[in-house]
């Protein structure tokens, strides 16, 4: 059980997330939808403390994880893995090492720094890659893979953390429809087979309806809808967002493309 109690985050005057209370039973697959700036990313990044909350608490299985520090915080992060819109792989590094990054929390720092992974860990990584049909690419550099393949490598990395929760921030927003389906299927597979709780930001209502057990809609940092896919009817969407579904998705998609373009800049600067 993952519980958010009155969770909030302010950036100066802006309340990015404002008093969100949710309780997510173990093994649920939750889709978080909302327009750009609704606070979806901030919410999800607060759960694994990449962004610090300014109000409220996060409880996991009754334990408060809001105030963890040092080793305990890192252990918590390892248990709720994160999947990013831009995959966040080290482009110059081979696929296998990228996946093994998911293992770093489970091993002594000194031997990690020398990159001395055990045979067992390598086997784990290869098995995770094989699950997503990428074992053959293990020694290739990450930047030789397509976006869909890179996202699957990122999910394999998450898998190596042996997580209880997977947080996915727009995992398919940078992918073509076919890769998007493969990635969403992968997330659902982990959710169904291993009982991993999945919290997934999405901007496609149809994707959210198809894959998620539960949909949470956000607007200006607040939860404005929380229910099953069946309850999120077209009429309900118009109610909540004041626009029809096609318009809503168009707005959300445009915003995602903008933020992706902004973030791509540092990579180009680095290529030289």
């Amino acid at each position: 059980m993952l519980e958010l109690q009155g969770l909030g985050r302010r950036f100066g005057e802006v309340a990015a997330v404002d008093g969100v209370t949710l309780s997510v039973p173990a093994g649920q697959m939750v889709g978080v939808i909302g327009r750009s700036g609704a606070g979806k990313s901030t919410l999800i990044r607060m759960v694994n403390r990449l962004t610090e909350p300014t109000a409220g608490r996060i409880l996991f299985e009754g334990r408060d994880v809001t105030a963890l520090r040092g080793r305990a915080l890192r252990d918590w992060r390892a248990r709720c893995a994160m999947v990013f819109q831009q995959f966040n792989l080290v482009q110059r590094l081979d696929v296998l090492t990228n996946v093994l990054v998911g293992r770093l929390n489970h091993r002594p720092t000194m031997s990690s720094l020398l990159k001395r992974f055990t045979d067992e860990e390598r086997a784990m990584a290869l098995a995770a890659l094989d699950r997503f049909d990428l074992a053959a690419a293990a020694l290739q550099r990450a930047d030789t893979l397509s976006g869909g393949q890179q996202q699957r490598v990122a999910i394999a990395r998450a898998l190596l953390q042996e997580p209880r929760v997977i947080l996915a921030d727009e995992p398919i927003a940078s992918l073509d429809p076919r890769s998007a389906k493969v990635v969403m299927d992968a997330l659902r597979g982990l959710n169904r087979e291993r009982g991993i709780t999945v919290l997934c930001n999405l901007h496609h209502l149809d994707t959210a309806r198809e894959y998620c057990d539960r949909i949470v809609a956000m607007q200006s940092g607040r939860v404005v809808f929380d229910g099953t896919p069946a309850e999120l009817t077209a009429a309900r969407v118009r109610d909540v967002y004041g626009v029809d579904e096609a318009e809503f998705e168009e707005q959300a998609a445009a915003a995602v493309r903008r933020s992706a373009a902004n973030r791509a800049a540092p990579v180009a600067a680095n290529a030289a």
């Binding site: 890192r74 248990r79 966040n88 792989l89 080290v90 081979d94 998911g102 770093l104």
Partner: protein
């Protein structure tokens, strides 16, 4: 449209026939140009004044310069070897032969070898220290006290010239190469620490987020998310530094800190003219060949890093 249309006043458009928008634009352009020219003139005047003042303070008078110039030529003339065509390839006993000019080639070659080794070791040690310093000294990964400490330490190390470190270290460790190696190491750590930190600040931070989100510790995040990205630049800087350090190692012997510099200092102060030119020629040859070698190495290394690291 209106602004672009000519008002035809009998025949071609006279300058005064331009529309008001064009004239306003032209006036603004002229004003901006005048302003820029004035700023340039003022800057030039200030610069000239500064130059004159500094020349006066440092007593760099044109008369002194003119008087000294011929003496440079005279010195160069003196250190030139007196070679004779007919004896060029004779043994060490024949005056005018190459062997006579380089009669101490064996010991000089050894000293040059020592110099190159000093530079290589100092580069290795200095670059290693710089690598450790660079992560806390990078603004995107660090902050607070560790950042300030690392930055200020690098600054202090690279501000003090090697020769000053060498003087102190010769006093502490005695005459010899060890003092020279340490002196160059310290300066290298400071200089490379800053450059490495800049290479790190230019990396993509998204993998850093991912490693942190996976529960990796700070050193692990540095090692896995940042180092692979910065490594080609870091290597390139280190090899460039090796070239610089060869030059430093050749003069650091002036204060007794090992290498060919000691010999060079001796022959200069005793006015062994022909030996000066012989040694300088050797140093130039050595530096040039290291330049060539390290350039090859740099390209090779960067090419190899294209694969997995």
């Amino acid at each position: 449209m209106d602004a672009l249309s000519f008002t035809a006043a009998g025949g071609g458009p006279a300058p005064s026939a331009w529309s008001p928008a064009v004239e306003r634009g032209e006036a603004a352009y002229q004003a901006a140009r005048r302003q820029r020219r004035n700023a340039t003139l003022i800057a030039l005047a200030v610069l000239t004044a500064c130059l004159l003042a500094s020349a006066w303070v440092s007593e760099a008078y044109p008369a002194t310069l003119l008087a000294g110039l011929p003496r440079i030529g005279e010195y160069l003339w003196r250190i030139l070897p007196s070679l004779r065509w007919d004896a060029l390839l004779s043994g060490t006993d024949t005056e005018g032969s190459l062997a006579f000019w380089f009669y101490r080639l064996d010991s000089w070659a050894w000293l040059l070898f020592e110099t190159a080794n000093m530079a290589a070791l100092a580069t290795l040690f200095g670059a290693s220290a710089a690598l450790l310093l660079a992560f806390p000294a990078a603004r995107n990964l660090s902050g607070g006290v560790p950042y300030q400490l690392a930055r200020r330490f690098c600054e202090a190390m690279r501000t003090v010239p090697e020769i000053v470190f060498a003087l102190i270290l010769v006093w502490a460790f005695g005459v010899g190469a060890l003092a020279g190696i340490l002196a160059i190491t310290l300066h290298t750590a400071g200089a490379l620490g800053k450059l490495f930190a800049e290479a790190i600040e230019n990396t993509d931070m998204r993998p850093w987020d991912a490693a942190r989100a996976a529960g990796a510790s700070w050193p692990e995040c540095c090692r896995f998310a940042i180092l692979p990205q910065a490594l080609p630049n870091i290597l390139s800087y280190a090899l460039l530094r090796f070239e610089t350090n060869i030059r430093s190692a050749s003069v650091i012997g002036f204060v007794g800190a090992g290498g060919i510099g000691e010999e060079l200092y001796k022959v200069i102060s005793f006015n062994y003219y022909e030996e000066i030119s012989a040694i300088i020629l050797l140093v130039i040859l050595a530096v040039a060949s290291v330049d060539l070698l390290s350039e090859r190495l740099r390209h090779r290394a960067i090419g190899a890093l294209g694969g997995a690291t």
